[in-house]
């Protein structure tokens, strides 16, 4: 608006609207999204290993405790661990088939989760079991690790199958 040569400052009118669900109270959609820069830091060798068809756990340099998921320090005595190769053959410690899930994995349902156990290893490893009907999975079932050819540097680069 011009008045005696002066301009009243004014916010620009924009064409984007908002997604409104309700007016009383006002309920609207609020989009939020972020790219996050994540470092695997000391666990990086595990993920590098997966890309080379290698499954690695941790072994305590002092007390000898063994962990099926990497821990760079021992949870029993606090000393540093070293990497150790886990055998590719293992057994199902427990399992479930998920028919629902978080949004990110909904498209993949149903999928079967297993905790993998190895004799002589003190803890387990969470993974997916592929190619087995839910009703055919059982505790103690022998399984074998397989690796994606195209690594995504995620724990799902390894998965388990039966022979």
């Amino acid at each position: 608006m011009t008045q005696a040569g002066k301009t009243t400052p004014k916010l620009e009118e924009v064409e984007q609207g908002c997604v409104l669900y309700n007016l009383d109270p006002i309920i609207m959609k609020y989009h939020y999204e972020v790219d996050y820069i994540h470092s695997y830091a000391q666990d990086s060798p595990f993920f590098a290993g997966l890309s080379k068809g290698q499954l690695m756990g941790s072994k305590c340099t002092k007390c000898g405790s063994t962990f099926a998921t990497p821990r760079s320090h021992c949870m029993n005595c606090g000393e540093p661990t070293e990497w150790m190769d886990l055998p590719l053959e293992a057994k199902v410690h427990t399992y479930t088939t998920c028919y629902f899930g978080g949004e990110e994995f909904l498209a993949e349902t149903p999928f079967t989760l297993i905790l993998v156990e190895w004799p002589g290893v003190d803890t387990f490893f969470l993974s997916r079991l592929i190619g087995v009907a839910p009703e055919d999975v059982y505790i103690g079932m022998p399984v074998k690790a397989k690796f994606r050819r195209l690594s995504q540097f995620k724990p799902t680069d390894v998965y388990f199958v039966t022979e």
Partner: protein
């Protein structure tokens, strides 16, 4: 340590969504409800607050704790926010207990809330799953029901627990809630209803799992002197215990069973513990709380328990962790009727999380409020005149709050202080 009493509590009715009230308003409602029961208490006598909510993702607002404290008119007094996953509410209560026990405060307000309705259920599941290890667990199919399903599969394998026993927990808790006006999901169910509900993660079905909620709860804790000035029916928090376990379910090496006073090592000769079938943190929490409250045998010395039944399986596993029965006997315990409203030790007489809802940061405080009313004998007064859930002569109870796969667990013994 100074004795710590609860003098009042308040809850909002938990609901699927509460678009007319934001988290500050909901907390205010729960706070006002508590204040209404102690008319002699003024705002300026409150020395500070502990606030609790679980997820910044659900609020889309960091530092929501100070917004609550501010909204209640408590600035510039001390306050802090507590977060410990599903155990957030229970931990908040214990943090307020610490403030009084240490003598730092004479009156401390514990308030908690969660507003989970702002995203759809699938996104909500994803937000919750971010409370599992994001390097190794979440990307494999992050889903808490899946993790608990694996735990109970192993419980069934070790001890012969059945899906009918799981379903019986759901039937009991939903039924109790028929008489709780605060409950989000009261229902008259049969075992068959539960077994026929949709499979979510084998063996857990829709009716084995609590729902997401919006809600708030509050508890006012006091020193002995203040407590008896404010009410003639204060409730003593006579024992607190807190236990933990490894973040990753897969990461819990076998050790000896932590024994309670009434147990023997021979009871568990060949048991690998905790495996993934038991929550060692729950046992650790119970042991500390019993010691402080001088409880030798919880089954004989507790009149009721309000425990964290986010899944029917967790209730059965928790009977064992709390020593209400031996490890492995949880399934038989529900079957025996001991946990029923008229049983030896009623468990979740309120309806629990399964039927009341689970607005995470409020849940542990909700349990404190229900137990408080139970011990005061004021259930009918707070439940619109319905005294069905009032346990006759309840003198001592235990509340139990639990975070994802048993990472943080609190156990708090409450008893009549009058």
């Amino acid at each position: 340590m100074k004795p710590v009493y609860m003098v009042a509590g308040g809850i909002t009715k938990f609901s699927k969504a509460s678009p007319k009230k934001d988290f500050r308003y909901m907390v205010k409602e729960a706070f006002d409800a508590a204040m209404a029961d102690v008319p002699n208490l003024t705002l300026d006598q409150i020395d500070g607050s502990i606030t609790s909510y679980f997820s910044d993702h659900f609020t889309r607002q960091l530092m929501a704790g100070i917004m609550v404290h501010d909204y209640l008119g408590l600035t510039p007094k001390p306050s802090k926010r507590i977060e410990s996953g599903g155990a957030t509410g229970g931990m908040c209560l214990q943090s307020a207990w610490e403030a009084i026990a240490s003598g730092r405060m004479d009156v401390c307000l514990a308030v908690g809330f969660e507003t989970m309705s702002h995203v759809n259920t699938w996104k909500g599941n994803e937000f919750i799953a971010l409370a599992s290890d994001t390097n190794f667990d979440y990307p494999v199919g992050g889903f808490y029901t899946g993790y608990y399903a694996m735990m109970v599969k192993r419980h069934m394998h070790e001890f012969g627990t059945t899906v009918e026993q799981l379903a019986a927990v759901s039937v009991k808790n939903h039924k109790n809630a028929l008489h709780n006006p605060y409950a989000q999901f009261p229902a008259e169910l049969t075992i068959a209803d539960v077994l026929n509900s949709e499979m979510v993660a084998d063996p857990l079905k829709r009716l084995d799992i609590c729902v997401m909620s919006d809600g708030a709860a509050s508890a006012i804790l006091c020193s002995e002197e203040m407590a008896f000035k404010l009410t003639d029916k204060p409730i003593l928090l006579s024992g607190v215990g807190t236990g933990t376990d490894a973040m990753r379910l897969s990461d819990r090496p076998s050790r000896e069973v932590i024994l309670l006073p009434h147990e023997n090592p021979e009871d568990y000769k060949d048991l690998k513990y905790p495996g993934v079938h038991s929550f060692r943190g729950g046992r650790a929490a119970a042991k500390q709380a019993y010691k402080m409250a001088n409880i030798q045998n919880p089954l004989e010395e507790l009149d009721f328990v309000e425990l964290h039944d986010a899944f029917t399986s967790s209730e059965i596993q928790t009977y064992e962790d709390l020593g209400l029965c031996k490890y492995g006997d949880g399934g038989k315990f529900i079957e025996s009727g001991a946990a029923n409203l008229d049983g030896k030790v009623p468990v979740n007489p309120s309806g629990g999380l399964l039927a009341c809802g689970h607005p995470v940061g409020a849940t542990g405080l909700m349990q404190a409020v229900f137990s408080f009313w139970q011990l005061q004998g004021s259930i009918a007064q707070h439940f619109g005149g319905d005294d069905t859930l009032q346990l006759k002569n309840a003198k001592r109870g235990l509340i139990h709050s639990h975070a994802g796969t048993g990472t943080y667990i609190t156990a708090t013994v409450m008893e009549r202080g009058f």
